[in-house]
């Protein structure tokens, strides 16, 4: 059974995963937005 400590440590690792996924998603969205406005 996960203890509060291991749960919080998984939470920190989730932040790391979400950060990198966020970088990629924001990056791709930005690139598609630029080409969508035809620049």
């Amino acid at each position: 059974v996960p203890t509060p400590r291991t749960r919080s440590s998984v939470g920190k690792m989730k932040i790391v995963m979400c950060f990198w996924l966020g970088v990629v998603v924001v990056g791709l969205a930005y690139m598609f937005a630029v080409v969508a406005v035809g620049r």
């Binding site: 059974v1 996960p2 920190k12 790391v16 950060f19 990198w20 996924l21 970088v23 990629v24 990056g27 791709l28 690139m31 598609f32 630029v34 080409v35 035809g38 620049r39």
Partner: protein
Amino acid sequence: VSGVARLRQHGLSIFFAVAFLLALGGQSVAGLAAFNEEQLEHGAAAVSYLDFVTSSDFVVDVAENWQSEFLQFFLFIWATVWLVQKGSPESKKPGDEGTGTDEEQLVGEHARPDSPAWAKVRGARGWVYSNSLLLVMGAIFVLSWLAQAVAGTVVYNDEQATHGQPPVSFVGYLGSADFWNRSLQNWQSELLAVGCMVAFSIFLRQRGSSESKPVGTPHSTAAVESE
């Protein structure tokens, strides 16, 4: 655990995040300088930093490198399921090719109490989770390549207009030398580097790196076997 000690647990991510942002910032500054040099050579006006980073010229350069990196990892993850390289720490040992048994993979009824929830179920959710790394890397590759193609069409047609040539369609650009030159020049370097990493790590070592076998491990032994 102190704040610094907690940050150190994520040092690899933090180092690469900072290095990525510095490199992307550097690319935007150097890219602007190169772009404006060409503008002036053609007697056109220089553009601002904001104009450049919101242009297809900047996007196509970012996207073509993104797609090749994600293709590299997609192929590496996929190929290491089915193929092995004797002695390489990047590989499973010969004979272990394939997706492994449910018992080895701790899925379904073989999952542990602390296994991820989606590893405990079968069906679509179990399949998706079992392939989630490959699916996400593949999706990012396809989307980056698409962004490269769309932005590349805009840049290519700008150049066509400058030289008094007719524009090409998106599909027409997909068959153009420019599109494949941009794609393949990135792919060849990624494939070379992966091949070198797989082969060099049989005989060469970096003490302390998770990418290397321990220094004294025999050449014919993969890191997995030595454990």
